[in-house]
Amino acid sequence: MNLQHVLLRRFSILLILLFSCSHSMFAQDIAAGKALFMGKCASCHNVLKDGTGPALKGLEERHKWADHKELQAWINNPAAYMAKDPYTQGLKAKYGSMMTGFAEITLADVDNIVAYINDAAIVKVAPAAASGQAPEGDQNAVLFGIISLVLGVIALILMQVNSNLKRMSDEADGLKTPAPIPFYRRKSNIALMSIAFFVFGGFMVAKGAIGMGRQKDYQPEQPIYYSHKVHAGINQINCLYCHGNAWESKHAAIPSTNVCMNCHKAISTYEKGPKLFDEEGKEINGTAEIAKLYKYAGFDPSNPNQWDPSKAKPIEWVKIHNLPDHVYFNHAQHVRAGNVQCQSCHGEITAMDEVKQVADLSMGWCINCHRETKVNFNYDSTGGNKFYSLYEKFHNDIRNGKMDSVKVKDIGGLECQKCHY
């Protein structure tokens, strides 16, 4: 009787062992498949998305691919396979480029790759992407507004109550008070108000007059909601990838449509980043914004190989920073020779969704920085200014203790004609 029991137990242990064994073998398949896929296939194929080649999800349900021998034949030599196979000819017509052959792929490799693809096709539910929230500042402002409103109303009521109480107590004491003059007809009040009005009005007029033609905080709506935070912040794209001219010329330049398409030929959806909101707090659909880009580029994501970059239309971005014509400003002089960071003039661009002008671009702003900034003499191939290596005099003055450092103003940074044509 016991024997049976023991046997059963042994058997079940065996079963479990077998199962776990096969399981670990299975896991190894996936790992090996992943390595192969990443090394050889991933530059053209994505499991879930079409790229240079088709998405490979659900591969075994298509064509004859359930038979891994067929698959191997295709991978080993796509050209030869395609010659007598209309299905893959159709794929070629759709995707344009020809798949490279991998003669070294064995049948076991194919099994592994397919195991990996099937595993990766099960979309792993991402832990709810750090859900962005509407900018908090606005809500705070509304809250403060409401609180101060309530306080104001209470103060008014209290003042009324106070004056009424005073009158009542005066009457009770039998004092004759003159009929109350409303506060807006009291002479002292009128005088005070008009002085305050003139001071305030004068201040506003002067401020407006100085600010006229300056556009600090200007933040226009752009034809495409393009976020610097997503690109230069979260995805760490270098400013010079798009604004490369800043290194070489006066203008930093706005990238042309083909530069956007370097990445967006492949990135057709917005899904990894946080939720986006515009300055009014309206939610933005990143994928729809990328679709706008495709419209300008004349790119049809379902038919990528028909794309002709030369037919792209320019995107009409709204210019934000704008110096008047009588000022000469040069980016290369500041960025390359002067080693000044973009952020010191443009603010924290990497945290802005929509670009906002941070400096007022007034003459005082330029001059102040030139008064305070030390010239970067430590020149090498990537920065610094060889030109000023000739300024022996400064070196001698510093040596003799006449100067402690050389500021931009000492090399001519305050001379009118350097900034004005």
Binding site: G51, V142, N235, N322
Partner: protein
């Protein structure tokens, strides 16, 4: 009654004030518009008005134009025959004289985002497959196929783009493209040598 009207007056002004957003969507007025908004055509200005006025203006140079100081043009077209022949094109730069520091800067600005700081094909946009970019950028270092790739072929792919990768001809001049390739090649050799040294060290 009066108090109620005061109350509502204050309430509406407050609501109007709060409702006003502080986002500045317009540039404001200027004293002298013709100084601020150039009457001459500026870098990005649309030339449509000229076209409409019948003025013949071409925004792009005549095809085949070579800029002053530009290197000799690349001879092959963007097709599979051109790709095949590109391998025979030699790097025209004097490799020993290339400023590798500047070349490295160009690589990090333009390529590192995909191909990685270490040229291993794992830049921030790919990030082991977790990044937002869906095609794996190839490993320029450590993959025998690309270690062996001719400089001319790399130049062809950089100039015209290759599959998922776009063309870099608008971001890098001919000379800069050759500089980047020189940099890539210098890394490939170095890494292979280091790996060889490493394995000999281990086997000893």
């Amino acid at each position: 009654m009066k108090r109620i009207s005061i109350f509502f007056g204050v309430l509406t002004t407050a609501v109007v004030l709060i409702g006003c957003s502080n986002v500045r969507r317009d540039p404001g007025t200027v004293y002298m518009p013709d100084m601020s908004y150039s009457r001459a055509y500026e870098t990005y200005a649309s030339t449509e008005a000229l076209t409409q006025a019948g003025v013949n203006y071409t925004a792009t140079p005549v095809s085949g134009t070579i800029a002053r100081g530009e290197m000799a043009a690349y001879p092959y077209k963007n097709d599979s025959a051109g790709y095949a022949m590109s391998a025979s094109v030699k790097n025209p730069l004097d490799v020993a004289a290339v400023d590798l520091k500047e070349a490295e800067r160009l690589y990090l600005v333009n390529c590192g985002i995909c191909h990685g700081k270490k040229l291993d094909g794992n830049g921030p946009l790919w990030n082991d497959g977790n990044g937002p970019y869906p095609s794996k950028p190839i490993a320029l270092v450590g993959d025998a196929k690309y270690e062996a790739m001719a400089e001319g072929t790399m130049f062809h792919s950089l100039t015209y783009g290759k599959n998922a990768m776009g063309s870099y001809a608008s971001q890098l001049s001919t000379k800069q493209r050759w500089m980047v390739i020189t940099y890539v090649k210098s890394k490939q050799g170095a890494k292979a040598a280091a790996a060889a040294a490493d394995s000999t060290a281990k086997s000893m």
